[in-house]
């Protein structure tokens, strides 16, 4: 894993530091685009970083 501060990660993916903090605290669910950006930056799959625990029948 890369050694990045929240500020550096935010700058690299083009969001604010508050967004990174909110994602880490599970208070904000990122868009697919942002999730892919983060995954690409760390060279991992999206599901390695994010996991969805919602109901499968949920709309």
């Amino acid at each position: 894993m890369q050694d990045l501060t929240q500020e550096q990660l935010a700058d690299k993916i083009g969001v604010s530091r508050q967004t990174i903090i909110a994602i880490e605290a599970n208070k904000y669910l990122p868009s697919l685009g942002l999730a892919f950006k983060i995954a690409r930056l760390f060279k991992v799959k999206v599901e390695d970083i994010f996991n969805y625990e919602g109901d499968e029948n949920e709309n």
Partner: protein, 143 residues
């Protein structure tokens, strides 16, 4: 093309607003409408140029917050102003003649203003809904 995030853009906007405010204050002191108009116009042109030349990066979380705030504002404001219009128009339309003349006449006028505002709000919502529905593929023409 200059790339700036929304925070920097907001800071710049505050500086421009302060500058315009200072110019207008100076214009008021000197009683010069021309200076005030020039100050406001310069500020507006600067902001328009900045918006067109600079790429303002919007944070998606901020956009989500703005969407939710706008939705809640509409959900609260539209019924409130609609009910207020109804309540203000009710006395004069309901046969209470005391409310349709003299010093109470403003109630009916205020009710009419509120009623038109409600309609205006609903029309804007409907138009923007239609526009965004088409923009995001809800036109029904695509296979």
């Amino acid at each position: 093309m200059i790339v700036m995030d929304r925070k920097k853009y907001k800071q710049l906007r505050v500086i421009v607003t302060l500058f315009v405010g200072a110019i207008v204050a100076l214009a008021v002191v000197r009683d010069s409408y021309l200076l005030a108009a020039a100050g406001v116009l310069t500020g507006m042109v600067f902001m328009v140029l900045m918006r067109s030349k600079a790429k303002i990066r919007t944070d998606e979380r901020e956009a989500t917050i703005q969407e939710k705030a706008a939705r809640m504002t509409y959900a609260i404001f539209a019924p409130t102003i609609g009910i207020a219009a109804f309540l203000l128009l009710l006395p004069s339309k309901g046969g209470f003649s005391v409310f349709s003349k003299g010093e109470w006449l403003f109630i009916e006028s205020l009710g009419m203003v509120f009623a038109y505002l409600t309609l205006f709000l609903i029309v804007i919502y409907a138009i923007s809904y239609h526009f965004f529905n088409r923009k995001f593929g809800g036109g029904g023409n695509e296979e």
